[in-house]
Symmetry: C3
Subunit: 157 residues, 3 copies
């Protein structure tokens, strides 16, 4: 029986998720999601207007896996590193084994020459479900504050 | 009987506070405070020198409500969005139903053209009190690291 | 008997550590470490390549104390302030009284003229041990994302 969802477990999930990306362990990234799932990257403006499409949209684990495979093959652009810094999560609703949370994020991009700048800020709108000892994403909508998102955006947010 | 104050409850309060501002639910912002209260925005330099006044000063919920009303009416400047990212809180003293904590913050400003920059960094010096299931601010002193604070600063920090 | 290490205790340690630095209480900084210890600042690139040396290296509390003493004497450069913002920690291994954790960080530098910029981002790779009611660092390796680290870097990260 999966244990009750707590703030501590949500924090641990969020921390593990961004570690996976920032440590370039992208092949493990789809494992954070259930199947089917919803993973969407959008802008605050489009989210507010209720647009269903996004900059990135995936509704199955296979689509997430494809995305990483494509990224590995097409990795011809200038090497960049990212650092996610997460704020403190809000639990919006908690049914015990399924919960909704919102977690603010900032992503810093470190260019090859060492220059660092703010790549993106926003909020993760999540529905998470307890599966055994783990929490998995039923849904993660990444709402970026800025409407000017780098169209070369390749790494998951 | 209000429950004991814990790090988890303080984190939840801090997260809810910045969500309220970043989601533009400003009318709910005064509800985070007791009445009377102390809400002050100042600079690290002035705080160190012991100056009592601040860039912003309010000692009642009515003053907080007025501030939001004025902000809504005067909203003629260029549209900006803010994103607060909070660091991990320190509990400095904890009497069970009243506690002092310090929470570092960073605010990123997202301009209309999509450009993002660091608007402010600093620390929240708080006294919080358990009121039923909630925590409320007895006092929040917002100490900004930089002395160059945008004088057009309108949104609460 | 020291209590079991929890995420909450690790968060409290991380928060206290950066508060010590950002509040300029540097003389208390070596107290966060056991003796002997390992404190190293390095870059992601050098860390990946397995280089043992670092930009800063100390393996005893005496070396940490010396570092602060030297910093206080040599404090001739332009006054700067730093603000650490920590992300959510990952617990990588937890043996109960000793644990390994990874905590992302960002440091904002506030110059005398009020300008703020991103000074460093990276991750703390820590081994912590419960000593009575406290947690102490057995080892802290500060891995900076950028290879362009200010060689005048004087304050601890």
């Amino acid at each position: 029986m999966p244990g009750k969802i707590t703030l501590e477990r949500i924090m641990a999930l969020q921390a593990a998720y961004v570690r996976c990306i920032d440590h370039d362990e992208l092949e493990a990234w789809p494992e954070f999601f259930l199947d089917p799932c919803l993973y969407k990257v959008t802008t605050a403006e489009n989210h507010k207007l209720g647009y269903q499409s996004g900059i990135i949209y995936a509704d199955s684990k296979a689509m997430l896996i494809d995305r990483i495979a494509a990224l590995r093959q097409a990795n011809i652009y200038e090497k960049q590193n990212y650092r996610h810094i997460l704020g403190l999560p809000n639990i919006i609703a908690n049914g015990g084994t399924e919960a909704e949370s919102e977690t603010p994020f900032m992503v810093v991009r470190i260019m090859h020459d060492g220059q660092s700048d703010i790549f993106a800020t926003g909020v993760y709108l999540d529905t998470v479900r307890a599966v055994g000892r783990d929490l998995k994403f039923v849904q993660r909508i990444v709402v970026c504050d800025s409407s000017r998102i780098d169209t070369l955006m390749a790494l998951p947010l």
